[in-house]
Each structure stands twice: as structure tokens, then as C-alpha cells.
């Protein structure tokens, strides 16, 4: 009898967090507290996922949202403090800052190569906080989101997001299933003000373009590297029929440039400016914000197979993901230069 009372008392004691064990995408095991209320994103990719899946648990941004982006974010999250990037290219966060923020969980979303695994282990050791590494590749995104939702205790929401991502991809695949190779559009991603930096085929930077059924003209000749610089001559030789960019400077002058006029995409006015608010539609960062970009690109490349108005799709996406209702005027701004017939 006495033992029963003791056990009952013990199980009722407040503040006793039973650790839950979670395995992340890299196979690492971490012990999480029972209730996860304060979550920190290690980089920009993870920040987007965190904001979308469980904004109320967010305690800060790796880098604060710019003024133009704040308009399209929830009120509370707009003003959260900046902590710096923990790992990845250019880690700027101070470990003491992380410690003083006292997160229940830190996670990163993206690459799970051994480099990132060792970085994750190191941060976990230094700070003592559980650190999850989630695979951010397009085909693993839904599973990663579900995993995160379970870890954070935001199962319903993460399920809704994961399902949206899956359905978006399935829609693309279904409608493009019978597209013959010869009819595939040849796409060039123009980065930087001169438009001569591009992403190589198969890189994370052009993932969305290729997933949406486009052929990236910048073929990959070696296994490594994502970004490369080319000459205008090379672009003319490739003769893409569609160009996508998010550099406003490049977009502003490409149609009046006599050299770029030799490129079929420019000649046919098929140069499109990728929306960026609050997060880039095809990159910057390469995270789940690109889901809308998938549908957008597919619609640009094969409008007859994707006739739905992108404005409606975008409005629904922003409501579900970013939890903001965008007005018609805001949509105009977001989609400036992103639709055919804009010039």
C-alpha cells in the first residue's frame, strides 16, 4: 500500500519532465523535455520551417527580417530578437547567446552530411541543449516536417503543412507525367546584377526549377559545386527559352540590353522576377518557402497544364503557411514581374 502511494506521488510531482527520445534525420538520438515551448532555429532554412510549423514557440531569428518582409509576417514574430546563424556557411552566433536564450530545442534544416553532423554534435555538447538535424531535400521535406512536429508537440499543424507539401509535389508529377522530353522548357537561373551567376543542374539552388519540369541549361560537368559563373556567350549558346531571376537590377535592364536580346527567353519576353516576400519563392533560403515556387514555375513553364490563377494559389498558401491574409494590392507587389505579359 505504502509503495502505491509513493509511486502515485512520484508520478504526480510537478516539474518532473520525462525525457522523450527522438531520432533525427542523421540518425542522431536526442533527449527532449516533455514540453517544448522555446525553440531555436540554427539557420535561415530552419527559421522558415519553425515560423511556419510552430511560430508561437519561436524565440528568435538567425537574422532579423528586413523591413519589406515584416509586412508579411505575424505581428509577434516580426519583432523577435536576432541570434545569429549557429552552423552552416558563416556561423555568427555566439554560443553564450544561445545559452542565455535557454531554448528547449535547437534544430537545423538542410544538409545532413558528416560536416553538419559533427557541427551539430559540437553545439549540443557545448550548450547541453538537444540539437536535431533534419533533412531538407525536397523529397525528404514532408517526413522531416512530421518528425519535427512530433518532437515539438505541434503534430496537427505539422501534419497539415507536410500534407500540403506532398500534395503540391504530387500535383506537379501527375500533370507532367506524360510530358515528352522534347517539349520540356529550357530554363536558365540568372543570379546577381549581371545575370551571369547561375546554379548548376542538380544544385539546391535550382532544385525547384527542375522539379517543376524544367531542364536547367547549366549542365553539371563535375560532381561538386552549386554556383558557377558563365559568360554571356555561353548563355547565348545555351539558348534557354525561359529565364528566372530574383535580382531586381538584372531584371530592370535585361530587356533593353542588345546582347541579352540574342537569348530566346529575352526575345520572347519570358524573363520572370521571382517573388521574395517574405521569403524567396525559389531560393533564399532553400527551404519550404519554395513550395509555392514549385507551383509558380510549373505554371510559367506549362501554363496549359496549370491553368489555375497563381494569385489564388498564393493567397491560400500565404494564409496556411505564413498565417497572413494578403490583399490584392499586396499580391500585385509580390508578383511584380512574375507573371507573363508584364511588359
Amino acid at each position: 500500500m505504502r509503495y502505491g502511494v509513493v509511486i502515485a506521488l512520484l508520478s504526480v510531482l510537478p516539474g518532473l519532465a520525462w525525457a522523450a527520445e527522438v531520432t533525427d534525420s542523421a540518425g542522431r538520438r536526442a533527449s527532449l523535455p516533455d514540453r517544448v515551448e522555446r525553440v531555436m532555429a540554427a539557420g535561415a532554412n530552419a527559421a522558415v520551417v519553425l515560423y511556419v510549423v510552430a511560430p508561437e514557440k519561436m524565440i528568435g531569428w538567425p537574422s532579423a527580417p528586413r523591413p519589406a518582409e515584416r509586412e508579411f509576417l505575424r505581428q509577434r514574430e516580426r519583432d523577435l530578437p536576432e541570434f545569429g546563424r549557429l552552423t552552416g556557411r558563416g556561423d555568427t552566433a555566439n554560443v553564450e547567446v544561445v545559452l542565455s536564450a535557454r531554448p528547449d530545442l535547437v534544430f537545423d534544416f538542410g544538409s545532413v552530411t558528416p560536416t553538419y553532423v559533427s557541427l551539430a554534435d559540437r553545439v549540443a555538447e557545448q550548450t547541453g541543449f538537444p540539437y536535431l538535424l533534419l533533412d531538407g531535400r525536397l523529397d525528404r521535406t514532408a517526413a522531416s516536417i512530421r518528425l519535427l512536429g512530433k518532437a515539438m508537440g505541434a503534430v496537427d499543424r505539422s501534419e497539415a503543412i507536410a500534407r500540403y507539401v506532398e500534395e503540391a509535389e504530387q500535383l506537379i508529377d501527375a500533370r507532367l507525367a506524360d510530358l515528352p522530353g522534347a517539349k520540356r522548357r529550357r530554363v536558365y537561373l540568372a543570379r546577381q546584377a549581371n545575370g551571369l551567376e547561375t546554379g548548376l543542374a542538380g544544385s539546391i539552388n535550382t532544385e525547384i526549377l527542375e522539379r517543376a519540369g524544367g531542364i536547367n541549361v547549366a549542365e553539371r560537368t563535375s560532381g561538386r559545386g552549386n554556383i558557377a559563373n558563365v559568360s554571356i556567350e555561353q548563355v547565348i549558346a545555351w539558348a534557354p527559352d525561359t529565364i528566372v531571376t530574383w535580382d531586381a537590377n538584372f531584371f530592370a535592364q535585361v530587356f533593353s540590353d542588345p546582347v541579352w536580346a540574342s537569348v530566346p527567353a529575352v526575345r520572347d519576353h519570358r524573363v520572370f522576377l521571382a517573388p521574395r516576400l517574405p521569403f524567396g519563392w525559389i531560393d533564399a533560403p532553400p527551404s519550404i518557402n519554395r513550395t509555392i515556387g514549385l507551383r509558380w514555375i510549373a505554371g510559367l513553364l506549362y501554363p496549359e497544364r496549370f491553368p489555375e490563377d497563381i494569385r489564388n494559389v498564393a493567397r491560400d498558401f500565404y494564409r496556411l503557411f505564413y498565417q497572413v491574409d494578403v490583399t490584392a494590392e499586396q499580391l500585385d507587389r509580390i508578383l511584380a514581374g512574375a507573371q507573363p505579359g508584364h511588359r
Partner: protein, 330 residues
């Protein structure tokens, strides 16, 4: 003057050959008809003509100008500072221009803005170095100039590193890295309209004053006793060299080794007398840059940075120079 005109003529011939090779090379397949039509200028231009006239020609001309400017500035500085290990960046113009450019990339300026910022920052850096050296008022003016240049250059380099940290690692950092390694991929005819006159503006004084500049190699005291206003001539040389270098760096990014190596090779060919050395170095520099740029766009589908190619060619050459073990520098 005991001229060796044969060498100079050979260099001119080499330059013409390099020009033709450069115009003929590139990822876009040109047909002979393109060349013919381009010369005849009949009817609407085909893509091949556009590539030849609007893409390759400006790029090739720019490469030649870069070679002329860097080799000319390097030769002038090596004579002025009486030191064969000096490069055009000794007073910090390239590093300063680099800082201007990466700031422009950080601020997401259009291409013209980045170039303008680079040019102005390069000039401002050398002005700063010159003023510091003037304020320090020591006897050994050239030494003070060099040391100030090293210090300010280091400072500018630190600022560049700071900008790299502040830059967006996905979007801006690759662009910054690539710019700092040098490339002529984006050169347009409009760029040439500015670059050519500015490079000429720096070149003309150096050529006109070449005899007097050569006398500076003897040292300040001797040069002055031979009748040269050393302080004024030094200022002119620095201004001319800085103008040329800042201009080409603004358009091509930072390209090292050319200003250091080419004067050496030219000196081996025609001797150290500046009157012969300057034209030889300029011709050689132009040919060299034409070939390097040819490689940059032909080695792979993507551009190889010019700075990497010049370093890969330059470092072994320098080792070979050291191994030759001669009494003095050519």
C-alpha cells in the same frame, strides 16, 4: 639609344596573333559566314555576329587593356620604388577597389554602381596613403609610401573580410568571392567606352615621361642631381599608375601576378632601361591577358577566374626566377 627593335616587333606580332586567337575562341560556335557578315555589316545581325561584335570583341579589347594597364603600372612602380618585387597594388589600389566592389555587392547595387564604387574606392585608398606618407615627412619617401601602402592595404583587406561576414552566404558571398578572383565575363561595349580613355589617360604620361621615370631608378638624390623634380615626377607616376589600375580593377576584379611578372619577363627580353621596358611590358601584358582570358572561358563551360589562372602561371615562374641565381634582377 641602343634600341633592340627586333624584340619589340616580335612582341607586336605576338599580340596580333593573340588577338586573332582570342576572337576565334569561345563557347559559341562561330561560322566563317558570321565573320564575313560582321565585316560587311549587311542586314540584321545573326546571333553569331552579335557574339563576335558585341560579346567577344569588347571582352578581348578589355583583356588587352587590362594587360596593358597592369603591366604598365607594375613596370612604373618597380622602377619608381627601385624594387623588382613591387606590384601595382603596393599602395593599396587593388585592395581598396576590391573593398568598394564588395560593398557595392553587399548593398545590391547595379553593375554600374559596383564598378563606380570600386573605381572611387581604389583612387581614395591611394590618395589616403599618399597623404599619410606626406604627413609623416621622413627622408626616405619611397619607404614611407610603401609602408603606408602596406598598412592601409591590410586595413582594407580586413574590411573586405568583414563585409564577407556580413554578406548573405547564399546570395552575396559567392558573388563577392568570384569578383575578388577576377573575371571579364560581363564586359560590354559601354564599359569599354569608359575604360579605354581612362587607361589611355594614365598611359600617356608614363609614355611621354618614360626617360625621366627611368632615371628615378637611380635613387632620389642622384635623380635630383641629374635635374629631375623627384617629388613631382613621383606624384605623376603614382597618379597615372593608380588611374590605370583602379579603372581595370573596377571592370575586371582583382587580378594578381600580372603586374609583378610581366615587367620581369620584359626586363629579361629588353633590359631594364625604362624607355624600352615600358612598351615591351605593355605589349607582353596585353598578349598574356588575352591568352589567360581565352583559357578562362574555354577550359570549361563555366568561367575560371582570371586571378586563379594568373597565379597558377605566376607562382612557378617566380620560383624559376629565384632558382636562376643571378647577381641582380635582369
Amino acid at each position: 639609344m641602343t634600341a633592340r627593335p627586333v624584340v619589340l616587333i616580335l612582341l607586336v606580332v605576338a599580340l596580333c596573333v593573340a588577338l586573332l586567337l582570342a576572337l576565334a575562341s569561345g563557347p559559341f560556335p562561330l561560322a566563317v559566314s558570321d565573320v564575313v557578315h560582321a565585316l560587311l555589316q549587311d542586314g540584321a545581325p545573326s546571333p553569331g555576329e552579335i557574339v563576335l561584335l558585341r560579346v567577344r570583341l569588347p571582352r578581348v579589347a578589355a583583356a588587352a587593356l587590362v594587360g596593358v594597364a597592369l603591366a604598365g603600372a607594375g613596370t612604373a612602380y618597380q622602377t619608381l620604388f627601385r624594387n623588382p618585387l613591387v606590384s601595382p597594388d603596393i599602395l593599396g589600389v587593388s585592395t581598396g577597389a576590391g573593398l568598394g566592389a564588395v560593398l557595392g555587392i553587399l548593398l545590391a547595387l547595379p553593375v554600374a554602381g559596383i564598378q563606380a564604387l570600386a573605381f572611387l574606392a581604389g583612387l581614395a585608398t591611394v590618395v589616403l596613403v599618399y597623404l599619410i606618407a606626406a604627413a609623416l615627412r621622413r627622408h626616405e619617401r619611397t619607404l614611407v609610401l610603401v609602408l603606408s601602402g602596406v598598412v592601409i592595404g591590410a586595413l582594407a583587406g580586413a574590411c573586405i573580410s568583414l563585409v564577407k561576414i556580413l554578406a548573405d552566404p547564399y546570395d552575396q558571398l559567392p558573388a563577392i568571392t568570384f569578383w575578388l578572383l577576377g573575371s571579364l565575363a560581363g564586359v560590354k561595349i559601354g564599359d569599354l567606352a569608359l575604360v579605354a580613355p581612362l587607361v589611355l589617360a594614365g598611359l600617356v604620361p608614363l609614355v611621354l615621361l618614360r626617360w625621366r621615370i627611368g632615371v628615378l631608378a637611380l635613387g632620389d638624390d642622384e635623380a635630383r642631381s641629374l635635374g629631375i623634380d623627384v617629388a613631382r615626377l613621383r606624384a605623376v607616376v603614382i597618379l597615372a599608375a593608380t588611374l590605370m589600375t583602379a579603372t581595370v580593377v573596377a571592370v575586371s576584379g582583382v587580378i594578381g601576378w600580372v603586374g609583378l611578372m610581366i615587367p620581369h619577363i620584359a626586363r629579361m627580353m629588353v633590359g631594364p632601361s625604362f624607355g624600352r621596358l615600358l612598351p615591351a611590358a605593355m605589349l607582353l601584358g596585353a598578349s598574356f591577358m588575352l591568352l589567360v582570358d581565352l583559357l578562362a572561358r574555354s577550359l570549361a563551360r563555366v568561367e575560371t577566374p582570371l586571378g586563379i589562372l594568373t597565379a597558377v602561371l605566376g607562382a612557378p615562374f617566380f620560383l624559376w626566377l629565384l632558382a636562376r641565381d643571378r647577381g641582380s634582377w635582369a
